[in-house]
């Protein structure tokens, strides 16, 4: 049966502003289905975003939403979560929003392990502002500010989040939309900071400049160039080399920040 997206979309907001073939819509659908799968109450769910293409997403969905300053979706989410730890807080950010402008907030929220789910819409570029290179633009690729190829090397969101201490880390792509939905649902259920790296496409500013073909070619690329982390252990090394690993990289139980904070309040005899 068809999934009733209309239940979660603000009336009159569609069609959205994203370009034809932009995979942000696919990821947004996965988030909606994941929230439905977990069964979160609309009034008790907050979606927080910063600035950028990905950060337009909360405008379309019918939850409590917060559209904040560039890179600051995590500090605002932390504030919302601490003010009322009963709320389900989901933060969405693009790759530049999460890792460049908000990079400092990203690593420290990972370290703090507060119960927030972050979905990084990772499309390797700053799409909205005209295709400047971002922290996840691969080495040698073209962007409007690197016309001779990007001299920098890209961040790996998963490695970064694991190194900084996030307790749930996973990666999926827009092609693998159903596993992505499962991972987001898993991340929402997980008590602690969850980072989901959702690989997206930007056919307009990244794909066109780098001659990666149409939106369909770019999404199909994920099919041939990703390997599930469980399958990667069994495959010969030459089949895994150069491929992007997907799946759940880490899922561990760690003390959660709101609980720890409540303990301090109790210890000092203060009021919450």
């Amino acid at each position: 049966m068809a999934f009733n997206y209309a239940e979660y979309i603000r009336p009159g907001k569609l069609p959205h502003i994203w370009c034809p073939g932009c995979a942000h819509g696919t990821v947004m659908k996965s988030i909606i289905r994941a929230i439905d799968r977990v069964g979160l109450e609309k009034d008790r769910t907050v979606i927080v975003s910063g600035i950028g293409c990905a950060s337009r997403m909360p405008g379309y969905v019918d939850f409590n939403t917060l559209h904040t300053t560039h890179g600051r979706s995590l500090p605002f989410s932390t504030g919302v979560k601490l003010a009322d730890p009963g709320l389900n807080v989901i933060a969405v950010a693009g790759d530049g929003d999460a890792l460049a402008i908000g990079g400092n907030h990203f690593i420290h929220t990972c370290r703090r392990n507060i119960d927030i789910t972050l979905i990084v819409f990772n499309n390797n570029i700053y799409g909205m502002t005209g295709g400047q290179f971002s922290p996840t633009t691969p080495h040698g690729k073209l962007a409007s500010t690197t016309p001779y190829g990007n001299p920098d090397y890209a961040f790996d969101v998963v490695e970064l989040a694991m190194g900084a201490g996030a307790s749930y880390v996973s990666r999926s792509t827009a092609y693998h939309a159903i596993p992505l939905e499962r991972q987001i649902a898993d991340g929402i259920n997980h008590k602690g900071f969850s980072v989901i790296d959702a690989l997206c496409t930007c056919p307009t500013t990244y794909g066109r400049r780098n001659k990666l073909g149409s939106a369909v070619d770019m999404i199909g690329w994920f099919k041939d160039n990703t390997v599930g982390i469980k399958a990667a252990g069994k495959l010969p090394p030459e089949k895994v080399e150069g491929k992007i690993l997907t799946g759940v990289f880490r899922k561990e139980e760690k003390p959660e920040y709101c609980d720890e904070y409540a303990k301090i309040i109790e210890k000092t005899g203060g009021r919450s």
Partner: protein, 84 residues
């Protein structure tokens, strides 16, 4: 196969209990649903998706899952697999 157009510009294609709704106002013609349909049910027509062979549909829902624009809905018969 029967086609009808609702007031909100939704094109409804019916075949038995199966219905595929295309909200043409939302469709941006990106071709993703057409390319990833495993049984070739959909086609592009005037930069909008067009349901050409609904009788082959297996209700795998991949078009609905991957459509970034909320433009296609498969209202199935509840029975997966090819229609008899």
């Amino acid at each position: 196969m029967a086609k009808s157009v609702r007031k909100d510009e939704t094109v409804v294609t019916e075949y038995g209990d199966r219905k595929i709704n295309v909200i043409t106002r939302y469709c941006k013609g990106c071709d993703i649903c057409v390319a990833f349909c495993p049984v070739d049910v959909l086609e592009m027509k005037d930069f909008k998706v067009h349901v050409a062979r609904i009788e082959d549909c297996t209700e795998c829902m991949l078009c609905e899952v991957r459509c970034p624009d909320f433009a296609i809905e498969v209202v199935g018969s509840g029975k997966k697999g090819k229609a008899k």
